[in-house]
């Protein structure tokens, strides 16, 4: 269950990250950070 909640949270975070800035590198970095959080703490 927590995996799915985590996935939804990461997807929401990714959406916010993409909307929040115009910089491509910042978007990629933020998605990387979110993916890292998912990998380290939820996966």
């Amino acid at each position: 269950m927590i995996y799915y909640i985590g996935l939804v949270a990461v997807a929401l975070g990714a959406w916010l990250s993409i909307r929040g800035t115009s910089s491509l590198t910042a978007r990629i970095s933020m998605i990387g950070i979110l993916a890292g959080i998912y990998y380290y703490f939820i996966h």
């Binding site: 916010l16 990250s17 909307r19 929040g20 800035t21 115009s22 910089s23 491509l24 590198t25 910042a26 970095s29 933020m30 950070i33 979110l34 890292g36 959080i37 380290y40």
Partner: protein, 275 residues
């Protein structure tokens, strides 16, 4: 050199509280280590052992020796440790700029001159690292002097500890500072649009994950990529030769490369935000 001077001036204006706090911590530590001469060495810690009545072997008073050591060397070690921790905390916070500093646009103005964002970030990194290296070295030197004043049998131990600290600092100091600069760049990219939640969460999450990822990557690269043959090869071609301390130059090399990459990514983000 001109850029270095300009950024040093800008950073000293920006971090004036930090630059007041660091000497204050150093002076306070020095006062407590040097002037507060509570001589704990004259206290008699020896206890009477009544070994004849028990009839057994007299046990060595090991625990009292430990207590004596702790009382002798505790104050300088604890004081230096806390001073270094306080300095380290400030060091971690140093690269982060507030919204106001960005809107004042000092670094953007520099960018409009002939300098690239990458060179600006690299100069900032150098400044932070040098500032905190100076602070840490002063604290460590004062701690060492305080310990040597108590007992000068520990010269070699202190020399080793000193060397280990310097290696640790140069291995992880620039890395942590460049991480701060990188995360600050991401933060900058987000507060341009005023998204407060994302802006405030980024530093915490960023430190957590990037720190873990880099630590993992370090271990992986040291284990897999740099095999023993390469270690010796690198050591042979360096001019300084073998320092006697294994795994010294390779992590340093990794740190320099990683710091450069992080600064490059940070500068790319800032350039894209400006565009």
């Amino acid at each position: 050199m001109g850029l270095f001077r300009v950024i040093a001036w800008l950073e000293s204006k920006r971090m004036k509280y930090l630059l007041i706090l660091l000497p204050l911590i150093a002076i306070g530590t020095g006062v407590f280590l040097g002037i507060g001469k509570i001589d704990l060495t004259n206290i008699d810690y020896s206890f009477e052992y009544n070994s004849s009545s028990s009839g057994g072997m007299p046990s060595p008073p090991l625990s009292f020796n430990v207590l004596e050591q702790v009382l002798k060397f505790g104050p300088p070690i604890v004081l230096s440790f806390f001073a270094l921790m306080a300095g380290g905390f400030l060091a971690v916070l140093a690269p982060f700029r507030g919204d106001r500093e960005w809107s004042e646009g000092q670094f953007q103005l520099l960018r409009l001159s002939k300098h690239s964002m990458l060179s600006i970030l690299l100069v900032r990194l150098t400044l932070y690292v040098l500032t905190f290296w100076l602070f840490a070295t002063i604290i460590l030197t004062m701690g060492s002097i305080a310990i040597l004043r108590v007992d000068d049998d520990y010269t070699m131990l202190i020399k080793d500890a000193y060397t280990m600290f310097q290696i640790g600092f140069w291995t992880y100091g620039p890395l942590i500072m460049s991480l701060g600069i990188f995360i600050d760049s991401i933060r900058t990219a987000y507060y341009m649009k005023g998204s407060k939640i994302v802006t405030n969460i980024i530093p915490i999450l960023g430190w957590l994950v990037i720190g873990l990822a880099i630590s993992d990557a370090f271990q992986f690269v040291q284990g897999k990529l740099f095999d023993p043959w390469l270690f010796t090869a690198i050591r042979d071609v360096t001019l300084l030769g073998d320092t006697g301390i294994p795994m010294f130059k390779e992590p340093l090399l990794l740190t320099v490369l990683t710091s450069f990459v992080l600064c490059y990514l940070g500068s790319r983000i800032l350039e894209e935000v400006e565009a």
